[in-house]
Symmetry: C2
Subunit: 174 residues, 2 copies
Amino acid sequence: MTCPEELDPVRLLTPRAREVLAAARVVLERDGWDTLTMRSLADELGIAAPSLYKHFASKDALRTQLIALALKEFGEGVRPVSGVAALVRAYRDVAAAHPQLYRLATSGSLDRDALPPGLEDWSGSPFLEATGDPHRAQALWAAAHGMVILELDGRFPTGSAPEATWDELVTHFG
Amino acid sequence: MTCPEELDPVRLLTPRAREVLAAARVVLERDGWDTLTMRSLADELGIAAPSLYKHFASKDALRTQLIALALKEFGEGVRPVSGVAALVRAYRDVAAAHPQLYRLATSGSLDRDALPPGLEDWSGSPFLEATGDPHRAQALWAAAHGMVILELDGRFPTGSAPEATWDELVTHFG
DNA sequence: GTCTATACTCCGATAGAC
DNA sequence: GTCTATCGGAGTATAGAC
């Protein structure tokens, strides 16, 4: 399922800015946000770093666009499923497929004013649909996020089986 | 309840190193890890930045000590409780009391070889005691962590009531 | 244990020509 | 839309004297 047109964060970007954004995704996923620099991004594009500022006003503006893009894509990746078990499975998979983008989109502060209005809510709405209750939805999302981020950060003790823990989580919320 | 002597990460530090560590906590909680620099830490102590290297070999070594200290203190803060509801409540409170230390200790990669052996397990053992099952414990911890970190990062939509979500979580695991 | 001096690297961002 | 040149700053860390 696709994101509504009016929520698509890319809709107002120039074609070249979209290319820059796509390259930023590549570098982000390869190096992580902290080591993505305007210089490394420019290298990826084969241009000089100062040229980037013709397309994005600052590195932070680029970050906001990446986050918006992530909200859109994660929302799309999780939407076609129904039921708590399938939702949780899809959430885990989409995060694992783009770990650095997931981390960027869900960690640290969020400048809501810079996002398309309604995008954040739309991105999380599958949890509401699957649970039928706002607080239940929020609790399930938080639990799934905790699992994902601890797994991405390698925080579960070595040798532990996350699969069984995921099953446990689904059981409690199923 | 206090941490076993042999797990206390501070036990091998010189008195002066402990003072440096204490100052690092202050600066960390005030500025966050990314903006804690060797210079700002030195300023807090009223000494010059290079002097710090007499006590800690690198900034990363300092980070490891802070994380170990956090594991000890969070373990102590959560241990005297029994039952899922009280555990979750204590976990939330101890994180909220030292948000930046919590973030440092639970986010990003962890160099386990640099920690006192057994400290990490000891820190998490209250979850095992409260649930009686390893996977249940892990799921509860992940859910609680997800709630805490999203709350600290201001990721719940404005106007939403985290209290009710916390209650929801306790209900499912209670 | 602290100091001064400093090396070295990297960063985001701007100015102005083409 | 891209370039070159550059600013201004920050960061970790080392060397060596006291």
